[in-house]
Subunit: 349 residues, 2 copies
């Protein structure tokens, strides 16, 4: 814990660390009841008829003939939990990452400062951080036999532009030559460190990913879901599938949603939701289209009687946030706004 | 925490939870100073000259043309830490997984009971659990352009035999038809759940993996390393590279070592080491060869003046342990023996 972060917690009025710990001599300790993890969902699959091949494990050693045929478990997802002795939140908080990324999104930031997993633990939430199907510890499966297409790998240039860190065309291999958006909150020096978090993705696994998320929700909820980018659509869809189990959704720059024209808002209007948007979306046709679709979804949910709030950071006085809001320099300030909203939505004890 | 586990801790004499927590009303809480994670090691790489290709993200939507060329960060590894307010161990404990697996090895067991990460946290160790290069949250890179070969995927049959859960030839797709070794400690009903933890591996990434481990040791040590199977050789090699930073090694059924004939034992003879072997190794030519090489390495280290101990579980009265000792039903009892050894090796405060 960085001292500034702890001070923010102690002075911010949103949470009080001393109240959390209960033990006056240990106000800097987080009392943990349990930590652990599990895989959930997925299916067995059997491969047959593939040719064997030789693999050399050690240079100079005789190759070993490997038979790729057989039984496998595929398309599960992974979740790790940290549970408090006395959570202040009514429900555990499930953190769902975006595309080409894993649960690492929510952990320590690329600049080494505490991330949102830390923030919300100290704010009194039991926290679950997961890796979706095909990513990270969830593992991935042979293609094209099981996964139906080839994976693709995000370049640093794509991340630089898509995450609105620098203007389109401004990425350079040499960090010193890169041009970033004026006033960006993203910690520029940590950009290459963030790129180490990239994980290959497939375009053909959405159904399997949704199935695993739905099984995950059934296993650990009632809960609140916090989803980023690609995770947004999976969260909305899981809520439509399990409206009684999802007690709140915080969506950070979601990239997709169920069809706004046909979504059954009556099923999810009882779930309070908060959309959070960073800065500079209006300069990008790509992001403009996404925001527009989300605003349609949100306004229709609101019209149906839902609590469908939005936090537009620039209008709230916070300029320069990238798509990776949880990694931005002002991530604690944004988290505090979210925490205030959670209280207003009745999600804290 | 399962009640039996807590009782073992409270009555075992090895560790005392109340002494750990310091706060009499919270003897079931683990006081955590910090949790977090990072990527370490790796290198930037640039791909050029590859053809673009079309990817369809949403069925029915227009395909998007993707250019695979550009800059990437590759061959880093991932580590997650859980730090206590008052560790009882002198050094943090780094847990290194084996081949085709990730750090999940050390977390909650496939049968849902607490794993060794839990045990050693409650025993007073700061714990780091990592994913090596190419596995889990460490991510993987395009092949054959960056990784120099194709990955391979472990079948359930291979795990069943290699991990000494059932006799060679006894694996069946139908769990009810599988034959397991008499008296096995592996939780048979959790075998398919364990298979969900499998992660593809490459045979050509050892040098990159070692480089990342060495960078990891330089970042977080002095430390004690606990390594399983394939992780053993990486741990020995990191110790030879950084003998002043590695204060102890516990190796669980290591599959490899530096050449016993030429290893510079004088560099590592000051590092206490404990080898741990499960049951039924003598029935397998594969395991017999591995044990023999390890015993040569161990006896020469001992002859050079090192504390090179061995815990052969059957001889210690514990029968039926598989290669996945940390997942076996008696994993707490084995962990307790290791904890006793750590105390004897001067690794506890």
């Amino acid at each position: 814990m960085k001292e500034t972060f702890r001070q923010l917690l102690l002075t911010g009025g949103v949470v009080a660390v001393i109240a959390l710990t209960g033990c006056a001599t240990k106000e800097t300790a987080l009392p943990i009841k349990d930590v652990g993890s599990f895989h959930i969902g997925g299916r067995p699959v059997t491969l047959t008829g593939l040719p064997t091949r030789e693999i050399t494990f050690t240079p100079g050693a005789a190759p070993i003939r490997v038979d790729p045929n057989g039984d496998f478990e595929v398309e599960a997802m992974y979740a790790r939990y940290t549970l408090l002795t006395k959570p202040k939140a009514r429900y555990p908080l499930l953190m769902w990452h975006g595309g080409g990324l894993s649960g690492v999104t929510w952990e320590t930031k690329p600049d080494g400062n505490p991330g949102w997993e830390n923030y919300f633990l100290w704010a009194g939430h039991d926290v679950y951080v997961s890796d979706a199907v095909e990513r990270g510890r969830a593992s991935w499966a042979r293609y094209p036999e099981i996964f139906k297409s080839e994976p693709f790998f995000r370049t640093k240039k794509e991340a630089w532009e898509l995450f609105r860190i620098g203007p389109v065309g401004s990425y350079r291999s040499d960090p010193a030559q890169r041009q970033f958006l004026p006033g960006t909150q993203f910690p520029i020096d940590a950009f290459d460190q963030m790129a180490k978090q990239s994980i290959p993705r497939w375009s053909t696994n959405d159904a399997a990913t949704q199935d695993a998320y739905d099984a995950y929700v059934k296993k650990v909820c009632p809960c609140v879901i916090m989803a980023h980018s690609q995770g947004g659509n999976f969260a909305f869809t899981s809520a439509l599938e399990n409206p009684d189990l999802v007690k709140g959704i915080v969506i950070i720059e979601p990239s997709g949603s169920p069809d706004p024209a046909t979504a059954d808002y009556s099923r999810i209007k009882g779930i309070p939701m908060l959309w959070v948007w960073g800065d500079n979306t209006e300069q990008s046709a790509f992001w403009q289209a996404i925001v527009q679709r989300q605003e349609t979804f949100r306004s229709r949910l609101q019209a149906a009687g839902g609590k469908a709030d939005v936090l537009r950071l620039p209008q709230a006085g916070m300029r320069g946030n990238s798509h990776m809001i949880m990694m931005d320099k002002n991530s604690d300030q944004v988290a505090e706004r979210i925490q205030v909203w959670m209280t207003s939505a009745g999600l804290m004890r």
